[in-house]
Subunit: 142 residues, 4 copies
Amino acid sequence: MNSVDEMEVAKRVGVTMMSNDKAAQALEIKLLEIRPGFAKMKMVVRRDMLNGLDICHGGMTFSLADTAFAYACNSRNKKTVAMQCTINYVAAAKEGDELTAFAEESSLSGRTGVYDITIVNQHEKTIAHFRGTSYGTSSTVY
Amino acid sequence: MNSVDEMEVAKRVGVTMMSNDKAAQALEIKLLEIRPGFAKMKMVVRRDMLNGLDICHGGMTFSLADTAFAYACNSRNKKTVAMQCTINYVAAAKEGDELTAFAEESSLSGRTGVYDITIVNQHEKTIAHFRGTSYGTSSTVY
Amino acid sequence: MNSVDEMEVAKRVGVTMMSNDKAAQALEIKLLEIRPGFAKMKMVVRRDMLNGLDICHGGMTFSLADTAFAYACNSRNKKTVAMQCTINYVAAAKEGDELTAFAEESSLSGRTGVYDITIVNQHEKTIAHFRGTSYGTSSTVY
Amino acid sequence: MNSVDEMEVAKRVGVTMMSNDKAAQALEIKLLEIRPGFAKMKMVVRRDMLNGLDICHGGMTFSLADTAFAYACNSRNKKTVAMQCTINYVAAAKEGDELTAFAEESSLSGRTGVYDITIVNQHEKTIAHFRGTSYGTSSTVY
């Protein structure tokens, strides 16, 4: 279980990051929950997020997952960057869909971590599986 | 070498896709070149594409690569979707940077293809390596 | 829950595949459990599986995961092949370690599937995370 | 261009690694060429490398690529490990096929690198595309 202190650190990391995250703000991504190694975020698929097939552009789905990944891997107030990410698209998202990303820490050893992010729509249908490899710097977030 | 007809098909695919690609338009992604199995695109990093560290959000870099991937793999007028993508971030992009994505077909066998997209900045410094796995449907683009 | 028939099909797939899988036999990989969308396998790290650093060669760890992936995605008696796989190494395995791979189906839609394989050692320490993208053919396994 | 000294270092790294690489020896992988950031290797597909479909087991193809990756990323005598690898299978390899892996450094910045390995058969047909993410330690190879 996480201590009260760890939870407070994670929350402060979330508030600090989101206040300055212009891309996440532009996509209207909301941080619903954050704790050590975990983040939950939401994004509604807008018309300007659709591709030429009128489904959600893969880059927009990825952006939601990547944002949740960033917050989860920085949640211990250790500034951490993405080295490599992989995404599998398993179902299409449409205009108006409410996408939720759940980012969980699968491994953390030394400076490097592995995070798994699942994106589901409002019907709990899985839209994409994302996995990120992170690398921790020596800095802090706040 | 590509025939004149193949080149015309690729161009028409590019125009058709871009005219309806609301996400690419919102990111002001420009299609510079398209031919069978290849696409070259450009995007300038705007302020609203930055993350909390004031560098280009990984999702925005990915979106440029993913768009170039989509146009390259649809360039033969066979509607083709992304199944899986992987990206390695190797340098940070900053506000005002002009990013160019080069998407090339590394393999195409049956319905599935492998495409490699490299993103460089205005100084020809590599920003990211992206690889996409595609799956061709039975439809056409136009 | 799986029906008795589905379980029988999965078991027969496992026996059929293993009886002819010369590489898995050479690595002394054992199939411990198979059911629709799932396979559990074991491999002991032999001396001839070590690399120049005297730890288990990444290709050997991958081979165990890839084998479990193959059995899980073929378990419904639909011949299915690997298109793309990704692996994250999170801890080293040593000579004599008993590695167990758990392969689970994360998504299956149409012909394509996503499978997650986790490899742990005898102390339940995670050694690697593997994710495979599969493509189903029109043939059967047996 | 590489200096004579860098070439000598790379060769000595190759000889040192191969002399102790029991897995590569067991698979009869041959190091054909090594220079800074590059390695070329060969493996003949033996009967005990086939899977249940009588084609080369994906883990064996991966093992060849992963070995070439390891030698390329260690070639500057900086002990370097694989963090994450991805492979796309694009054609099947059969018993007796002579597979050659070409490992090239696509990026190296700080401790982390990206390497691309292509595997071709004796007819120069591409069998697989592999990409590895490496992490450099503070040790040397010899």
